[in-house]
Amino acid sequence: MSNTATTTPPEKPLTSDAMSASLAREDQRVTAAPLGHALVELAQRDERVVGLSADLAKYTDLHVFRDAMPERFYQIGMSEQALLGAAAGLAMEGFVPFASTYAVFATRRAYDFLCLDIAEAGLNVNMVCALPGLTTGYGPSHQATEDIAILRAMPDLTIVDPCDAVDIEQAVPQLAAHDGPTYTRILRGKVPRVLDEYDYTFELGKAKLIRDGADVLLVSTGLMTERALEAARELEADRIDVAVLHVPTLKPLDEATIVRELAKDRLVLTCENHTTTGGLFDAVAHVLVRDGIARQVTPVGLPDAFLDAGALPTLADRYGVSTAKIGERVRALLSHSG
């Protein structure tokens, strides 16, 4: 799909290609299948690493690993409960499984297995799950708009929402090195490279200030960090100085960094590719209220609704999560407060 700042509807309706196409624009630097390649690289130096999928290797980029190391890959079939149970068993035998499916299936269909067999047991199982939030136009069957809300209350589970190929590549070895269960929202196909333009490295559990700014702070996670950065650049034209704090690890939350950045007197918005119920916005609000910090925060994210099917650029605009809509929101809030 396109991340461009289109607010005007296209001349003719977008076709179904735009429902599930690569997230990258044609003019963007991209990396193909960063998860698959990062996993191959990791597995070449760590014999414990194995991959599993529930009939979605090809659509989660795990096929790159499967094709490079077929003897290290287990096809479990369209059986998500059996997928997570088998991953638990392999971890019990000392292996480091990366298990892939779509985020909707890992969370909605196999929750009990993730909870009891993996999280309660404290196993090093890494779930790598595609189609987070609004990254498919197929409608609610495939759109994991509430996966983080489902999982945030699960004890001991680390939750990661990467921005781009850089995040994914750097996260993979850290997920394996982390001695416990992880859930990562995977971007697949031609994935944009964004964060290498900045002085940035992914650190599990850390939020990073990607750019500073005096007027506005965008606290963002996942692919919304890319849009937040684009919106910040566009707002420069209006002499609006925007900071972007990227929060790729949603649990455990880097509370110290968030509190430090929110203490400064700026307009604050959270940006997430997820319903604003139970995701980043709620996590930030929780910290603020608990610590008695009075700060208004405006959520940018998906509505508490089952989303429409359709082309991704259309839907991103419709639900207010496109780059253009972030900019519009910031301008409107500033004009109100000014």
């Binding site: 194995v50 287990y74 479990i76 079939g77 059986s79 409960q81 059996a82 997570l84 149970g85 088998a86 991953a87 638990a88 068993g89 392999l90 971890a91 019990m92 035998e93 000392g94 292996f95 499984p97 009990d112 297995f113 009891l116 067999d117 309660e120 047991a121 404290g122």
Partner: protein, 291 residues
């Protein structure tokens, strides 16, 4: 316990007789200790503990390759209890195998005990998984069986599940996966006591013919009287000795409350009530039937 060093130890009749006598004594102690634990709480899943005692005695006193002083020994056979509420039977079997001290059974389900009401791996040495939410054990057993094969470890994985548990669809996901991956190092043991929470399993949701279902999924199946010790031993050994790569399933038909006639005759309930003045009678009857 008996050390088993080969996958299919041939048993002569004399040898089998001796082993069965040993297993029979172990089964008596498992039942007795199940009663002891249940009496501490005044209740417990006593019907199931009594029915599965013979299967556990065959496994923990004869079949499993274990090191009592090293419950996480890499070479051990892995025995996964899906049905966490059968914990008191498993604890008694682990005591029988020498993994936990017999005296500790007195702490069953007490605060801060290592022996919670529902068996959990994080609490108890020798307990491989946290069961209780049914339909999980066989999915995990698959992963362990795959992992053992990866490592070239010849150990066998056992998963004890119940007939009621077969209603969980994940069991059948796992059954398909095990057959597809040729997990011949996996033995599912179905305790068929025809009892689940809301009544007889065959009336709540009949999964019969269970053996034919597993066979249709690509498993090798034996169905035996779950109280015939020699029959259980032969079935385990035949299953392990099969030359093909099918996963193995042993269905054990059992009687709720087995070994205590007044409990066998009692209305069959998932959670069997035993009155305070009945425990002594239960012990007496168990001694008589085990003599």
């Amino acid at each position: 316990m008996t050390e088993r060093t080969t996958l299919a130890r041939p048993a002569t009749d004399d040898d089998l007789d001796t082993r069965v006598q040993h297993i029979k004594e172990a089964a008596f102690r498992i039942r007795r200790n199940a009663l002891v634990q249940a009496e501490v709480q005044g209740q417990g899943y006593i019907g199931q503990a009594l029915d599965v005692a013979d299967v556990l005695a065959v496994l923990y006193a004869d079949q499993l390759n274990l090191r009592p002083d090293d419950p996480e020994w890499e070479g051990r056979d892995r025995c996964l209890l899906s049905i966490g509420h059968y914990a008191l039977a498993l604890y008694a079997a682990l005591a029988e195998a020498g993994v936990i001290p017999e005296a500790e059974l007195q702490t069953y389900a007490c605060d801060d005990s290592r022996l919670p009401m529902s068996a959990m791996a994080s609490y108890t040495p020798g307990v491989e998984i946290s069961g209780g939410s049914l339909g999980h054990g066989l999915t995990i057993a698959n992963g362990i069986a795959l992992g053992l094969k990866r490592k070239g470890n010849p150990a066998t994985v056992y998963n004890i599940l119940s007939d009621g548990e077969l209603g969980e669809g994940s069991t059948w996901e796992a059954a398909a996966v095990a057959a597809h991956h040729g997990l011949d190092n996996l033995i599912a043991v179905v305790d068929f006591n025809d009892q689940q929470a809301d009544g007889k399993s065959t009336s709540v949701l009949s999964m019969e013919p269970v053996g034919a279902k597993f066979e249709a999924f690509g498993w090798a199946v034996r169905r035996v009287d779950g109280h015939d010790l020699a029959g259980l031993v032969r079935a385990f050994e035949e299953l392990r000795a099969l030359p093909d790569d099918r996963p193995r399933c042993l269905i054990a038909d059992t009687t709720l409350g087995k070994g205590v006639p007044f409990l066998e005759a009692r209305e069959k309930l998932h959670f069997m009530q035993v009155a305070a003045d009945e425990w002594a009678k239960a012990h007496d009857q168990l001694k008589e039937t085990s003599a």
